[in-house]
Amino acid sequence: MSKLVMSEEETMLADMARGFLDGAAPVSKLREMRDNGVTHDAALWKEMADMGWAGVLVPEDAGGSDMGFAAANVIAREMGKTLAVSPFISTAVIAATALRQVSDARAKEALGRIAAGDATYALAVDEGVKFDPDATQMEAKADGNGFRLSGKKQFVVDGALADRLLVLARTAEGLTLFDIPADRAGIERTASNMIDARDTARIEFSDVEATGDDVLGTVDQAMTVLKPALEAGQAALAAELAGLSAGAFEMTVEYLKERKQFGVEIGRFQALQHRAAHLWCETEVTASAILNAGRMLDEDPENAGMAVSLAKAKATATAKLAVIEGVQMHGGIGMTDAYDMGFYMKRARVGAEWLGDYSYHAERVAAARGF
């Protein structure tokens, strides 16, 4: 196992990402998109692809930069800081990881399109209010050599913008993952009006045809492909939440230093100092859990599950604390839409639910620890 530090390359990647995102995707960009009812900026995603981000997990021979999971986390973390809008996790992390599990020409080609920024993906798993792949009810009925998919999915992040969908459905002997174009006949996508103003959809499948070629991996064995993809996504999302916490925390500490009440900076009030210090401590231990998740995915992916769940659980809890303290310490101004803190609070809430909430991942940590 390598050291639990950021490598020089990763540090450089972070610096570069920060520089780019501060300019190209600050919170004001998200605000602008929301105010205009836009959830995707194709040009921005293309720029990210050109920097190698879309291909961060795509092998070099497929046209990717293949930097690994720790690097993907670094990018996600920086995106979290400025609440950058992109299909990075859905496409570059989840879909790319899923496709990598399959070694055929079709998958390689798809990976190439992802790396080039030419294809976007969304993962359609949730059917109820909570993430629970094992409870999937949506049916893919065998029909000749193919299948017919019927059912409903919700909370499909990037589901309205995506060119392609990864759909989890129940087949005769288990679960199967399908990789199908989003505009196939019988698919009806309804954009959800999300509190974080990000692209998300509810999708209804009515007798949608799928061939054997549309199956990613093996029929009835979705988890072989999906498990690594989910873990990669969960880790990146944890990193995004950690970045979000850091962004909210920085705003808050700055405010504590400049805002005056009763004649002094509120950062002089010891009660606030201690709470801010506690929050910082939480962000620090969260950062360790994120680093570890990236290391495990890169070096021992078979056994990365606990590390990933630990990172997602801890990052979720810390992000919640960071935005609650952020709003409270800002007072009334933090409650106004004109101020950025609300964007952090809303994104933290959506990130908390996506790909498994605190409880889901806490239970997995507990199971891995023998209780």
């Binding site: 009334g332 839409d337 409880s359 889901y360």
Partner: protein, 388 residues
């Protein structure tokens, strides 16, 4: 009041309600649209809403405990309790809600002259004039006494200039009660007056503030050479802080009561959660139990303080405590409701209605009316006697 007469009172009231409360008004009415705020420009959402207000106002039921001469029904606290029980029995909507009822009314009843009461209270009780509150100023935050809006003494009136913020529904209000600095040389707390101002005049403008919950219940209000006649003052000149303090206490109790989820329509947390969750996991269940235990304990404390006050046992600086505990609890409760709602709760106007908006709204509970930090400092100083 004897048990017998209170039971008589109950039966009469029940009969009246059965006969007079329109069927459409018997739905609990907890959604925002069901509220009747009144005011000059009020547009009733239905005939039933109008009839219901008029009938209640005629009996003094919009302000049941106010004296009859000021538009109330002169009920005792025991009677009021029965009133709310009987209203709850048929799920009757509140006929009228307003800052006039909650805030200005109590202030006038306590500090106003008989003439002022006669002049201002009945229109409030009838829902004819809608009031808003002008306390906070930009940058003042928790330091409420840091009032910069100034009122120049012009003999028979003050000439008011300045800016207020967080003036709830000011864009829909007819009048505003505001703290204005009428003596710039006096110490901070000693130069403030509590003034009443007609908003339909030159020099008073409002602008809504959009909140993170997506709505704009708050405004900024600007005074530019606004004229306020000298008789539109509550309490003495430069003693407005006394009135403000009185009302703050009142406001805290109100917010904490709502916070504890004890006002009408508050369902047990467990029931709300099971709307969306079949079986709670350990974390959600543990948190929900803690929240429920706290809600019940805080609810009992509200009851105890009221009973103590009635029994003449002072509850001291209870309002700060209740405000702190009630609002922090409410925030937790809504966090749990969001968690229970999962992805259905993440959409504006999604399958769970405005759950996300309500959740975001609660984050202001521990800021408005005195932050949690200010409440704790008040308890520390006044109750525990710790040095400032």
């Amino acid at each position: 009041m004897t048990a017998n007469s209170i039971e008589e009172f109950r039966l009469e009231l029940r009969e009246w309600l059965e006969a007079n409360c329109p069927q459409e008004m018997r739905d609990g009415g907890i959604v925002e649209d069901a509220i009747c705020w009144g005011g000059k420009d009020w547009v009733f959402s239905s005939d039933a809403q109008k009839v219901w207000l008029e009938r209640c106002a005629a009996k003094g039921y919009t302000v049941p405990t106010w004296p009859v001469e000021y538009g109330g029904a002169g009920m005792s606290r025991d009677q009021e309790k029965v009133f709310h029980e009987e209203m709850g029995r048929i799920d009757a909507r509140s006929p009228l809600q307003s800052f006039g009822i909650w805030m200005l009314g109590p202030a006038l009843l306590h500090f106003g002259s008989h003439e002022q009461k006669l002049h201002y209270l009945p229109p409030i009780a009838r829902g004819e004039v809608r009031w808003c509150q002008g306390y906070s100023e930009p940058g003042a935050g928790s330091d409420l006494a840091n009032v910069q809006t100034k009122g120049e003494d012009k003999g028979d009136h003050w000439l008011v200039n300045g800016q207020k913020i967080w003036t709830s529904y000011a864009d829909k209000a007819d009048w505003i009660f505001a703290l204005v600095r009428t003596d710039r040389d006096a110490p901070k707390h000693k130069g403030i007056s509590f003034l009443l101002c007609d908003m339909e005049q030159a020099g008073v403008e409002t602008r809504p503030i959009k909140m993170i919950s997506g709505i704009s219940p708050f405004c900024e209000t600007f005074f530019t050479d606004a004229v306020i006649p000298k008789d539109q003052i509550v309490g003495e000149e430069n003693r407005g802080w006394d009135v403000a303090k009185y009302l703050l206490t009142h406001e805290r109790e109100m917010i904490s009561g709502g916070g504890a989820g004890l006002s009408g329509g508050g369902r047990a947390l467990g029931a709300v959660i099971s709307d969306t969750i079949e079986e709670m996991d350990a974390t959600l269940r543990a948190d929900a139990m803690r929240c429920e235990i706290d809600a019940l304990s805080i609810g009992l404390t509200l009851e105890r303080y009221k009973d103590q006050a009635e029994a003449g046992q002072g509850a001291g600086d209870a309002s700060a405590m209740l405000k702190y505990m009630g609002t922090e609890l409410n925030k937790q409760r809504h966090e749990l409701m969001m968690s229970a709602g999962g992805s259905d709760a993440l959409e504006w106007d999604g399958p769970l209605g405005n759950r996300a908006g309500d959740w975001l709204r609660t984050k202001a509970n521990s800021i408005e009316g005195g932050t949690s930090e200010v409440m704790l400092s008040i308890v520390s100083r006044r109750v525990l006697g710790l040095p400032a």
